[in-house]
Symmetry: C2
Subunit: 548 residues, 2 copies
Amino acid sequence: MEGSIKCNANYVPLTPISFLERSAIVYSDKVSIIYGDVTYTWSQTHQRCIKLASSISQLGVSPNDVVAVLAHNIPATYELQFAVPMSGAVLCTLNTHQDSSMVSLLLNHCDAKILFVDHQLFDIAKGALEILSKSTTKLPILVLILDSDENTSVSSNTLIYENLIAEGKLDFEVRRPKDECDTISISYTSGTTSTPKGVIFSHRGAYLNSLATIIINEMKSTSVYLWCVPMYHCNGWCVPWSIAAQGGTNVCLRNVTDKDIFDNIFKHNVTHMGGAPALLNMLINSPIRKPLSGKVVVMSGGAPPPPDIFSSAEELGFHVTHAYGMTETYGPASICTWKPEWASLPPDAQAKMRVRQGVQHVGMDELDIKDPATMKSVPADAKTIGEVMFRGNNVMNGYLKDLKATQDAFEGGWFRTGDMGVKHTDGYIEVTDRATDVVISGGENISTIQLEGVIFSHPAVFEAAVVGRPDEYWGETPCAFVKLKEGYNATEEEIIQLCQKHLPSFMAPQTVVFGDLPKTSTGKTQKYVLRGKAKAMGSLYKKKTLAD
Amino acid sequence: MEGSIKCNANYVPLTPISFLERSAIVYSDKVSIIYGDVTYTWSQTHQRCIKLASSISQLGVSPNDVVAVLAHNIPATYELQFAVPMSGAVLCTLNTHQDSSMVSLLLNHCDAKILFVDHQLFDIAKGALEILSKSTTKLPILVLILDSDENTSVSSNTLIYENLIAEGKLDFEVRRPKDECDTISISYTSGTTSTPKGVIFSHRGAYLNSLATIIINEMKSTSVYLWCVPMYHCNGWCVPWSIAAQGGTNVCLRNVTDKDIFDNIFKHNVTHMGGAPALLNMLINSPIRKPLSGKVVVMSGGAPPPPDIFSSAEELGFHVTHAYGMTETYGPASICTWKPEWASLPPDAQAKMRVRQGVQHVGMDELDIKDPATMKSVPADAKTIGEVMFRGNNVMNGYLKDLKATQDAFEGGWFRTGDMGVKHTDGYIEVTDRATDVVISGGENISTIQLEGVIFSHPAVFEAAVVGRPDEYWGETPCAFVKLKEGYNATEEEIIQLCQKHLPSFMAPQTVVFGDLPKTSTGKTQKYVLRGKAKAMGSLYKKKTLAD
């Protein structure tokens, strides 16, 4: 429009770096991080990050080089969420549960120039570098992160995290992105369904998701966030940047145990946390559980929470919000936003409302369920199944070095999640199954999530996962893997009968296996492992048996 | 980065239109607007806006054409904040206190294609069109907004607002901006210091400011906002869009009187409102004032609030936040964010902290005080005066059809506010004077704001404004215009002595004039009018008198 100018005064590329710079002024003396006896203020965190960025740059890292981190939820991991982008580099936080071989593969894939490593994971890192050294001479520089009270003897040529900060320059000129769509981080998917892919986040997406997270969770500058969600999991769902934007307080947590969680909640008056339903399950079944002294808002994602978890958690004082998303959507992308009118529903109906994946959050533009072939929206009839698709600034830039996979994911101008679901009449969506997790038995699609919900309602059941067991006659039959609560018992027959009572009988599992469930490090059940087990069992029905 | 794609799936131009579309799903049955006996839900508001956008488009409006609105804070004004951008057009809300001559000038300047007009302002609009018709044949189409219960007889060829909605099409394809930097609105400045300029807002700036506003004010989906800030004033500080983003409730208010404000606060459990200090002053001095039943967060801007207002307002239950900004920054751009440690200060010291203009909000990138000649930052010493400058996505695109003024405003890559101020050691800024309001007496800069603060502390004073009275010897002398509270008395001598007691004696006013203060429609004192009066008084000291 005539009279307009686009210049530095009115156009600044969006980046979460600005949140830290602002909090260093507005909340300078307010506590930014608590970790055991260690505390920092926002002014200190800002200064430490500038100095760290200066040292990262001094180590020869150029803009867009990747800096990797292999560490638990300790203060360094938080600081690196800012310091790496501030150096102009791209952050890649690695899953702490991976072995040396996988770590070496990922370091190689993203061509990491530096690897920051938690002392507890030093051996994995060294192992990874050893493997890497067989195929390349350009190894990442290793930087060791020690806990402050630590006296680990390290070889004199090992770089130490705190030394990098001490030696860094406070007058370092922070390198902000030239274009807000530039890469801020690479997050490898946790590999529930395939080998890890490197998901590319932009400064713009990170900025917008951080603000949306504050709004969804109604976070205030007085909010205290307990770090249960791993920061390597899509940058801790972007919450590190949200807390800086709002000037709240981070409580770091090395060991995500029931004791450490309850202790920290009480000691630091925690107001917010996040975690997979498995984490909530652990807390509500913990022998040391006790009613909280204040409300703790929990954003729960990573898997659909079994209905019972809500009520049990709320009895203790947790206020659970069900979120749904994936690494490709910067973490939570839809929220089952509570509607006041649900309060008058009976508990069962309420629970059914709450396990739905809901509606896109304020930062995500569109959420739809579409027929993946025609790209037409399914009717909002709570029945017609289609693919869950997103569109918005909180969808990744793409998969690192895998243009084909990016193109496939964005085919038709929408991000295709691969998850299947229905749209309810109120516009809320419900995921019925991950595309690869649907059990198709005798031509009927069986929702393993529905089945798992019913099994979970059995009082003895701690966890449940259903997969397809290959079958010569039916194609597949549903096979349930169940972990019982300590000191409880249940039989295969009981579980099957329970399912038959609540669902069409063809949906009931034909097999129930009791035992521990294999998990990814982010708490998701590794269904592909269970699928392998089910496959190994062989067919339940023989073609000829049924032909007889 | 290799593997990235920028496409519809992951890049959507930012626009507040998305807020309404989302709230229509998430908060479909929740009340969006209350106005007397009229209420709408978010689903209804969404549908009404689509139909209105369809009708606007049917009237022949093309993308980027301007649609003007001359109306009080009624539901139509709220709806037009969405419907006009949804039609692809640019919204221009006009100051309701202007006369036909000014309205015709502005309509002509922005080349408005439609003028929506409140029935109470119909005569002004008709007068404006009459004036316009003398110089052009392309007059804007007039659309009359009637209150729902109204039976005004109108000529049959006059378009009626509700008819446009009734006739609009629900399947209209909303026209989102192609580029997020495209213009969403034009807001004419209120003309405190010069003739109105047309400030251009972008969809991007509006989107980001709306989210920042939610965060600053800690607004929830349960928040209820009372419309005291005129929606013609930088689009109601972008709050119409914030409320839609969070799914809160708007309480519209035609008459901004103490009675209507108190009535609505109690009736609808208002949680948030905004307004100039003059509005707060009216409330705390109202004979019908009474303690609120719940806390009401008030963002106060438009002028620095005299210290006493905070405590008096808080005694009633208002929680006042001091914001600072201007049309060019989409309304509030900095906030005097409360620091918990201030709670332990004595009331006087607390008040001093709170009248400062503070720090940039989370949506504004940088705030600085710079020497306007060298563009160097002034030291944070609370003494050195420089010009207040902003940089960020919440700075306007420019002034409509006035590239020269835009270039001047952005000279050096910062938005130059024209206001002078200091930076305190904690990084908070304090505006000492508007560039044109400094009184320079005998070469000394006198802060009229400081002077006004002292005068205001006199128990009989209701309002005070100081300007320079031209003087042959001193250049200028400070001249105070004072309005006393009803039933109170004070003398010129008392006021002068009070100032001499609290400030260096050269700062004390040499003249005190009692009476009403001239105001702009947004509650700002029109200092240029007072300056005219002071000039008419002539010089207090004669050159030769002092040469004797």
